[in-house]
Each structure stands twice: as structure tokens, then as C-alpha cells.
Symmetry: C2
Subunit: 220 residues, 2 copies
DNA sequence: GTCTATACTTCGATAGAC
DNA sequence: GTCTATCGAAGTATAGAC
């Protein structure tokens, strides 16, 4: 399995001109260029404080530059948010589509759920901001993000529908509500998942897949 | 079943002194006193725009008063948020505990899920704000809310654990993760539920209970 | 219980030098 | 690509009259 999003990170590094600031002994510091760190830093800040409560001042400080310098890399604060949303949706769509179209049909749904969880948690900050901060966007800029989000959800809807037709998923609940239930099960995870905790993303993905497909009831 | 929260609304009305402003033909307007409308109006605003992006100006406008007049009813903006969080948790805890302690043990979990959904959607704005805007609270004021939230979640944890011991819920997944999965299934609902839609809260509650307990798999 | 007026702070963004 | 300096707008909250 290719690591989700690693391509983009490298692309940003290359595109930025690769300005590196050697720092001697301080090995902990992220020495990638400002352009390369901007989106990730903004996503982490937005997730922690919320978009509206995050200030360009704090973002600049986290990046180690003056706030005026931010505007060389972005056109405005909401530009960052749009970029985060689109990038997050691009990544998860790519990743999930990959497994949705391969392997034995019987295991596709479980594989999709697992891949979704792994990808969403790999891009945790970006993904959370995309899910929660959409309302902070001016309406004009919101629609393009909503379109891509609906497009992704449509992918899940289609998969569940085909599973219903194949008789593997119950047909007594509308596809729409099965899809929404699955999204419930997946999306709230970003609020509590702890990377330092005792369950790895992949294992959590399998657990959620089990609960969605088989339920919580004990069986002989 | 008693209607969740209706008691509080009446209490607020009474406590405010019951100032009523007759308005002639305009029957659509909420003519309860400012004090009675404040929390609900604030919750609706906070949910739509987010706490940080909501201004006292807009809140005052929605209430039909000047922004300075708000401070007769509250000590500050974050005072409103604390009140909303506590009230929302008080209501759902009361409602859910009621069904968690009555009726046949076999149907308690499903009843709890249904009651949770009905209550959370009845108090939709307050409940959503409580779930999402906690991070907007100054840390000192956050802890008391977190305590009550954890207390509520503990109630669900205990119920699931007892169901596991009774052999009705699978024991091969830790109680902790079964509880978190259930909270996933419940909490994200506030992001998409449409009161004008084709599924009533109670029916949705039963559907989510079915998916959690039985899963999505079709069975003979 | 609501008003007008305003104090004080912080925000996003720009101008222009280096 | 980053800096210093600053602008204008918008925020929360308070003072004091009615």
C-alpha cells in the first residue's frame, strides 16, 4: 500500500525551491521550506483552535516568520482553508477508490472502510478541518468543496448499493441511511482518536468495519 | 414519554418575569421574553456559524435588542457557551438514564440509543454546540463540562459492559471501543439530520440501534 | 430591561524596503 | 522570500442615562 499523501509532500518541497536552513544541533525542527510546511501547520492550528479562532499572527509564529510574510505564500486566510479541504478530499478519494475497484467483491466494503480510516487518520488535521470547518468558508468558495465531498460520499453510496443488490448487505434499510450511518461511524473518529493510544489506525479500521458489517451482537 | 427539555423552557419563561410584548398580526414572532429566548437563539447561532465566528452584534440583532443589552442577561460570551453545554448534557443524561434503568434488560440498549437520538435531535442546536465547540472554551471553564460529558459516556460504557457480561454483546471487542463506536454512530448525526427530511428522529434512532446491534449484513 | 455612546483590543491585510 | 510599519475594520465589553 502506498503511503497516502506522501507524493504531495514531496511535490510541495520541490515546488518551493527547496530552501533549507541548516540549524546545527537542533535536529527536532522541521527544516522544510515555509511553503512546504504552510498547509500542514495551518491544518494543525485550525483543527486545534477552529478556523475562526486561529489567527494569522499565530500561524506566522508557528512557521517562524512575520505575519506579513504569509501573504507571499497565500492570497488570504480562507485560501488556506479551501486548499486544505480540497487536498484532503483528493487524497481520500484517490486512496479509497483504489481499493473500491480491486480485490474480491466480498471483501471490498471492509477494505474500503479500513482504507478510509487509515487515510483519514494519516491526514488527521487536514481531514478534520475539511469535515468541520466547511461552514467557515464564504458560500461561493464552499460549493466546490461540497461537490467533491458529495462525490466521495457517492462512491460509498454506490458500493453499498451494489452490496445490497448482491445480497450481502441488508435491503430493509435504504441505501441512503446505510451510507449516512457508515459516515457517522467513520467521521466522528477524528474527535477522539489518539495516535499515542493502544489501537493503530488499521486495527481501528477493521474494528469499525466489523461493527458496521456484523454489528455488536454476540453470535454463537 | 415526557418531552425532553420542555420543563426547562417553561422554567426560563417563568424566571424571566414573563414580560410579553403583544405584536398584533405578526403571529410568527417568538414573543417570549429575552431571557427565555437567549440560550436557544445563541445555540442556533453558534451552531450555524461556530462560536468564534458568532458575534454579540448578530446575537443582539436576532433577539431584537442592542448589543449592550445582552450584558444584562449574561456575564460574557463564553458564559453562554458554558450554559448551553451544561444544559444540553443535563437533558440528555436525564432522558437516557430514565430508559437505561427501566424495562426488560434485553431491550435496554436499543431503548437507550433511541432515546439518545430523539433527545439530541430535539435539542439539536444545543447538543451540536456542546459536542463541537468545547475547544472554544477557556481551559478553566472547560473541565466542568468535560466531567459531565465523561459522566454521560460512562453511563453508556457501563450499559455495554453489562450487556457483554450477559452475553448479548460480543466480547471480542473491548468495551471502550464498542462505546466509542456507538458514540461515532450517534454523534455525527447532528451534522446531516434534516428535521424536514423523510425520517423522524425516533425512526432514525431505531435504525441506528439496529445497525449497531445487528450490523448491516443481510441474514437469512 | 433596554438604550446611546464609546473605550479598548485584536483582527486580516497592504505598502514598500531589503 | 522575508522584513518593519501601519491601516481600517470589527470584535467584546463597559459607563451611565432612562
Amino acid at each position: 500500500m502506498s503511503e497516502p499523501g506522501s507524493d504531495t509532500r514531496e511535490a510541495a518541497e520541490t515546488a518551493s525551491g527547496g530552501t533549507r536552513r541548516p540549524r546545527g544541533s537542533d535536529a527536532q525542527v522541521d527544516d522544510r521550506s515555509t511553503a512546504a510546511r504552510l498547509i500542514e501547520t495551518a491544518a494543525a492550528l485550525f483543527r486545534r483552535k477552529g478556523y475562526a479562532a486561529s489567527t494569522t499572527r499565530e500561524l506566522a509564529e508557528l512557521l517562524g516568520i512575520q505575519k506579513a510574510s504569509l501573504y507571499y505564500h497565500m492570497s488570504g486566510k480562507d485560501d488556506l482553508l479551501v486548499t486544505i479541504c480540497h487536498e484532503s478530499l483528493r487524497r481520500i478519494t484517490d486512496q479509497v477508490r483504489e481499493v473500491a475497484e480491486s480485490g474480491p467483491a466480498e471483501s471490498r466494503l471492509a477494505n474500503v472502510i479500513e482504507r478510509h480510516v487509515v487515510t483519514a487518520l494519516h491526514d488527521r488535521d487536514m481531514h478534520a478541518v475539511m469535515l468541520i470547518e466547511l461552514r467557515a468558508l464564504p458560500v461561493e468558495r464552499r460549493t466546490s468543496v461540497i461537490e467533491r465531498r458529495d462525490q466521495y460520499q457517492h462512491l460509498l453510496h454506490e458500493l453499498i448499493e451494489s452490496e445490497q443488490k448482491a445480497g450481502r448487505i441488508r435491503a430493509d434499510i435504504e441505501t441512503k441511511y446505510l451510507t449516512l450511518s457508515l459516515l457517522n461511524l467513520l467521521n466522528w473518529t477524528i474527535f477522539w482518536f489518539d495516535p499515542e493510544g493502544d489501537m493503530a489506525p488499521q486495527e481501528l479500521g477493521r474494528t469499525l468495519a466489523t461493527i458496521f458489517v456484523e454489528g455488536a451482537r454476540s453470535r454463537p
